[in-house]
Structures are given as structure tokens and as C-alpha cells.
């Protein structure tokens, strides 16, 4: 069953803060992460299914999957001085691959790919105690052509149906966003007004409208990673978002959101 749904920023400066970052802003996002952790403890999930966009870490140009599932026994990665490893809920991961393919989604799966920091940063702050196994779900966000927002929404809807039919208690998390432009001349000028308009739609329970956004619009708004949120929205339908925080830094719109189910 699907017992919870959250979206979290994964800005690496929240984990390892250089002097360029406002410490109080970072701590305010940490407070929102702590609230997610408390909710996860209360929801007692058997697994966390996390949708994140790889930063050209697990998948380089040897293979660029649109949608992928980590379906081994464990996954691990590194980021700077951080080393991390998580057990995978293999029965759930395998069910997602098998039933996803049965439903017409040609999923890529891996038992041997590094786990990107997009998964790790939110989990560093929100993993409940005792920890629960993970099912990492990848959506291609950085290597065009990415899956369309509509395809992400449809995949999320199928994923939600698969999770609801399971006996395990599953929390679905999306990692990413909001507006940021790493590596471009827009890095210091994200589209914060665009983010706020999206958050207003989400708090009104109008998440399905995000499925109609074009790839070009996501790129222009610095929101290519929103595909992870749109996948989650397919699963939660018209649930209304509870925005824990929206903290615009000089380069990044940091949001933490729950969709109470």
C-alpha cells in the first residue's frame, strides 16, 4: 500500500555547505527534512521508493535509460567524502520492474550502477530509525531527450497502482528541483516565480496539470528535475500538497513537500 508521499530538494550544498551558502537558509531546509523524518517514523514504511534524476553518475553515454529501477540486493555510491550504501527491497523492486513492463513501460533495470547523490542527500536527513530498505527509481533528467512530463505522469500513475496493490507499507519520495541551472550562465538567476506558481497549483491539488508542461518549458524554467515530482504526482493524483518549506538560495529553489494521503 502507498502510505506517504514527499518531495525533497537534494542540493548538495545542503549536505556539505561551502562559505557561499547562507547557513540559516540551509538550517531551515534541515528543519523541514527533520519534519519529513518524523513523519516517516510515524508512517512506519516497510520500504521507501525514491524517484530521482541521475546527475550523469550511474549512467553515462554508454547507456541512457529514460526510466530505470535498481533491482539488486543493495546499492551504494560516493559523494565527496560521503560513502553510502542502502539495502534494496528486492521483492518490491522486482515487482515494479515486472508489473511496469507488463503495463507497457519498457523499464531499464540495474543491479550494478552507482547511486547518485540525488538519492543520498534527502535520505541522509530523512531516513527513519531503524532504517528501511530502498527502491531507487531513476528518471532521466540531464541527458536530452528526456521522457516527456506526460510520460512521467503516466508512469507515476502505473507505479501508484502497483504500490497500492502491495502488502508492504511504501512511502514514495521524489528527489529534485526546484529551479536551478547548473553549468549554465543562468546559475545565479533561477526562476523562483515559476516555482511559486507550481507550488500554488500543487497546494490546490492541481498536480495533474503539470503533465501538460513541455520539455522546453521545463528547460527554460530550470526545472528539468521536476520530472521526478511529476512521476510522483501521477501516483498521488489530486492530493493536495502541504509545503513544508520553499527556500530560494542564490542558485536554487529548495522545496520540501508532503502530499498527505
Amino acid at each position: 500500500m502507498l502510505v506517504g508521499a514527499f518531495a525533497c530538494a537534494h542540493t548538495p550544498q545542503l549536505l556539505s555547505r561551502p562559505e557561499t551558502e547562507d547557513r540559516n537558509l540551509v538550517l531551515r531546509v534541515h528543519t523541514a527534512f527533520a519534519r519529513v523524518k518524523g513523519r516517516l517514523q510515524a508512517l512506519r514504511p516497510d520500504a521507501i521508493a525514491m524517484v530521482a534524476g541521475d546527475h550523469i553518475e550511474a549512467f553515462f553515454l554508454n547507456a541512457v535509460p529514460a526510466l530505470a529501477v535498481y533491482a539488486g540486493t543493495e546499492c551504494a555510491g560516493t559523494f565527496g567524502r560521503y560513502r553510502y550504501r542502502f539495502p534494496i527491497h528486492e521483492p518490491l523492486a522486482r515487482a515494479i520492474v515486472e508489473q511496469g513492463i507488463e503495463r507497457g513501460f519498457d523499464l531499464f533495470y540495474t543491479q550494478d550502477a552507482p547511486l547518485d547523490y540525488a538519492f543520498y542527500v534527502p535520505l541522509h536527513f530523512t531516513m527513519p530509525e531503524p532504517s528501511v530498505p530502498l527502491v531507487p527509481l531513476h528518471v532521466n533528467v540531464y541527458l536530452p531527450p528526456q521522457p516527456t512530463p506526460r510520460r512521467c505522469y503516466e508512469w507515476g500513475r502505473a507505479l501508484g497502482e502497483i504500490l497500492r496493490a502491495r502488502s508492504e507499507r511504501v512511502v514514495l519520495m521524489a528527489s529534485g528541483g526546484m529551479s536551478h541551472f547548473p553549468g549554465t550562465d543562468r546559475y545565479a538567476s533561477p526562476e523562483f516565480d515559476y516555482d511559486r506558481r507550481l507550488l500554488n497549483l500543487l497546494t490546490a491539488g492541481r498536480g495533474r496539470e503539470l503533465a501538460a508542461i513541455t520539455a522546453e518549458e521545463l528547460d527554460r524554467a530550470g526545472n528539468i528535475e521536476l520530472r521526478t515530482w511529476i512521476t510522483l504526482l501521477g501516483a498521488v493524483g489530486d492530493a493536495k500538497a502541504d509545503v513544508y518549506c520553499y527556500e530560494p538560495s542564490w542558485h536554487h529553489g529548495n522545496a520540501v513537500v508532503e502530499w498527505p494521503l
Partner: protein
């Protein structure tokens, strides 16, 4: 084509494969990054880059690298990883 070319993140052309592979290695391969820091020219030669790409990489010229087809995120993170080791940047780790 104008609208497509205006995108921040574009399809990585095959002509830039070696350049992107080199940036990926600087970002994600600790041993290669160490070799690059010790002798950038020799490390670049391992990756068989042409003279134009090599010069842009040695200058750290982001705009030239992106114009050659380098992925902006790879340029960004490769540069950050090199600066973290060269400049002993200080971080507060949580």
C-alpha cells in the same frame, strides 16, 4: 532549430563523446582526477582529445567547452571537483 538550440541542456553530439568522457572521468573517477591534477596534458592525452578540445579544457573555458558539445553539468561538476582539490575549499559537513 533556433528554439532547440536555445535549450540549456541539449543532446550530446557524438563528436563530443571523448570530451564528455574526459569530463565525466574528472568528475567521477578519483584516480583519473589525481592524474589530471598531476599532469593535465598527459591525462588529456589518455582520453585522445583533439587540440581544440584540449586547449579549451586546459583553459577551463566553459563557454568554449559547451560550444564544442560538452554537457554543461559535466563541465560544472568537473570544474568544481578540480577546484575543491586545488583550492582547499572549506565546507561545513552535516
Amino acid at each position: 532549430m533556433a528554439a532547440v538550440n536555445a535549450l540549456h541542456y541539449r543532446f550530446p553530439p557524438g563528436s563530443a563523446y571523448r570530451l564528455n568522457r574526459c569530463l565525466f572521468a574528472i568528475k567521477s573517477d578519483d584516480a583519473f582526477r589525481a592524474r589530471f591534477l598531476a599532469d593535465a596534458r598527459a591525462a588529456i592525452d589518455e582520453m585522445e582529445l583533439d587540440d581544440t578540445d584540449s586547449a579549451a579544457l586546459l583553459r577551463g573555458d566553459r563557454d568554449a567547452l559547451v560550444a564544442r558539445g560538452a554537457h554543461p553539468y559535466l563541465v560544472f561538476m568537473a570544474d568544481l571537483r578540480l577546484r575543491m582539490e586545488r583550492e582547499a575549499m572549506t565546507f561545513e559537513d552535516f
